[in-house]
């Protein structure tokens, strides 16, 4: 099965990379293999389905047994994986339990690996898994693919888990390193599996596109000494073109289905960024429009904050400042370091250096990632002279 061989490749890669050094483009290597195998499998399944139909038409009795059984075996395995995904991501489980179970049962990551990735003691994670399994058993969480009418809401839960896994790996919430490869690779792999099991689901495609496009920047986000590099300062030649091309193609497929949603919109925003050869050529006006649409369906203060960044780029910091002040006053972002770092950046661009320095200080105090905290500290220091 495709997933098993990719899983094997991934697990053996996890074991070998530290000693042998990273292959030139590890993500692409696994992705290409996975994609080829997924396409092969899909082709085989479709061909098989057509052959079974053709045979059934000619000889309704004789061949249905054999062809039908093979089809059923294939479907049964896919059904099993789908059931597993939806059970692991059941809303009745706490979100960290969903994430841990998904990585353990679908990701094939071992408990110590998951614990390491989330910077948790192994015992804590083991207990979390035991409690989750107990909840499934005691509360009677069924092992089923949700019925059609419940699928959109339940799929949302799965996408959320995958996005959390990716984000944990991509922009770690604590510790010095920003990218934790095992998690980002795993999130992408599982997003591919989900899409091959549930083809033509716009938001599932949207999520995969988003992960691919964000992941394309992973080598550019950190300096060799571990410092954070902003999007505008990144070496775009180090962006992974394979990821970009694939991400854009997947986004196209999603768009073609004509059912926009939050993940597709976020992917579209990422697409605008990756298609700008230089930061100055970024189509910020388009990004503002995309954020307008995203805010309309997902009225979250974090989306609103990102929108003000886009507005400051499209129309200037003076226009963005009152908007971010209104956001701050609404209280939805209290204690969120990015609110302060964004406001600090606007003040800095407006030449209000003292106020910017204070704001950077507040942001640094609230940051949870060491590399980001140091970045904010440096910004603050640079304004005091």
């Amino acid at each position: 099965m495709a997933e098993e061989s990719v899983q094997d490749a991934f697990i053996s890669a996890l074991e070998h990379w530290p000693s042998e050094g990273l292959p030139p483009n590890p993500g692409a290597w696994i992705a290409t293999t996975a994609r080829r195998k997924a396409i092969d499998r899909l082709r085989r399944t479709r061909n098989l389905a057509r052959k079974v139909e053709a045979l059934a038409a000619l000889t309704p009795d004789a061949d249905e047994g054999i062809g039908g059984a093979t089809m059923e075996a294939g479907n049964a395995i896919e059904d099993d994986r789908l059931r597993l995904i939806f059970t692991c991501c059941h809303p009745a489980l706490a979100i960290d339990a969903q994430v841990a179970l998904t990585l353990r049962l679908l990701g094939g990551l071992r408990t110590p690996e998951i614990a390491r990735a989330f910077l948790l003691p192994e015992v804590t994670l083991a207990q979390r898994l035991v409690r989750a399994k107990k909840k499934i058993r005691d509360a009677g969480i069924p092992y089923v693919v949700p019925p059609h009418d419940e699928l959109p809401a339940r799929l949302e839960a799965v996408l959320r888990v995958l996005y959390l896994v990716f984000n944990e790996g991509y922009s770690a919430t604590s510790g010095a390193t920003i990218v934790r490869r095992a998690l980002t690779g795993e999130a992408i792999r599982l997003a591919r599996v989900l899409n091959s099991l549930l083809p033509d689901e716009p938001e599932a495609l949207g999520l995969l596109a988003l992960l691919l496009l964000q992941d394309s920047r992973r080598d550019a986000r950190q300096s060799p000494t571990g410092e954070l590099i902003l999007l505008a300062d990144q070496d775009r030649s180090s962006w992974d073109r394979g990821r970009i091309d694939e991400g854009l193609a997947v986004l196209d497929r999603a768009a073609f289905l004509g059912a926009p949603g939050p993940y597709q919109l976020q992917a579209a925003i990422a697409a605008v960024h990756v298609q700008a050869p230089r930061p100055e050529e970024t189509d910020w006006a388009r990004i503002v429009l995309l954020y307008d649409r995203l805010l309309a369906i997902n009225d979250s203060p974090i989306v609103a904050l990102n929108r003000t960044v886009a507005i400051s780029m499209a129309r200037g910091p003076a226009e963005a400042l009152p908007i971010i002040d209104e956001l701050r006053d609404s209280g939805g972002l209290d204690g969120y370091y990015l609110l302060h770092s964004t406001r600090a950046e606007l003040l800095r661009r407006l030449g209000r250096r003292d106020e910017a320095a204070v704001e950077y200080g507040q942001a640094a105090a609230l940051a949870t990632n060491e590399a980001e905290r140091q970045f904010l500290e440096r910004r603050r220091a640079s304004l005091i002279d």
């Binding site: 059970t87 499934i136 509360a139 969480i141």
Partner: protein, 129 residues
């Protein structure tokens, strides 16, 4: 499996007409649950301010005025239902009128006597500890 559906709602000022509407909504739920043969019992409770709390410590019975916990949302009543699994129980919980204003807690009834249900059980890898 049997589930207790525990209804927590913040009391609010009602007109007699609204009271009737709420009662009718609960009656409708009751009828639907009976027709589907899932209803196994239930009661509406008087308001929390009519409650008395009892504790026995060191052989002494301590009685105090009020519910176990002073919360904004009060425990107002419960149903006992029979459902194949949690998803079914959730579907019924969502139909309870109190769910739109407050919270319905879905708790499996501890089943001491019977053997585990074989149907729709997750594979051993999930359910086993």
């Amino acid at each position: 499996m049997r589930y207790a559906l525990l209804i927590y709602v913040q009391p609010w000022e009602t007109t007699p007409e609204q009271d009737n509407q709420v009662m009718e909504a609960y009656n409708a739920f009751g009828r639907e649950a009976m027709a589907a043969d899932v209803m196994r019992g239930g009661e509406a409770l008087n308001e929390a301010k009519t409650a008395t709390s009892v504790r026995v410590r060191d052989g002494k019975t301590l009685v105090t005025d009020g519910p176990f916990a002073e919360t904004k949302e009060e425990f107002g009543g419960f149903y006992l239902i029979e459902a194949a699994n949690l998803d079914e129980a959730i579907k019924w919980a969502a139909k309870i009128p109190g769910a739109t204003r407050g919270t319905v807690e879905v708790r499996p009834v501890a089943d001491m006597a019977s053997a585990p249900d074989e149907t729709n059980q997750a594979p051993a890898g999930i359910a086993a500890g």
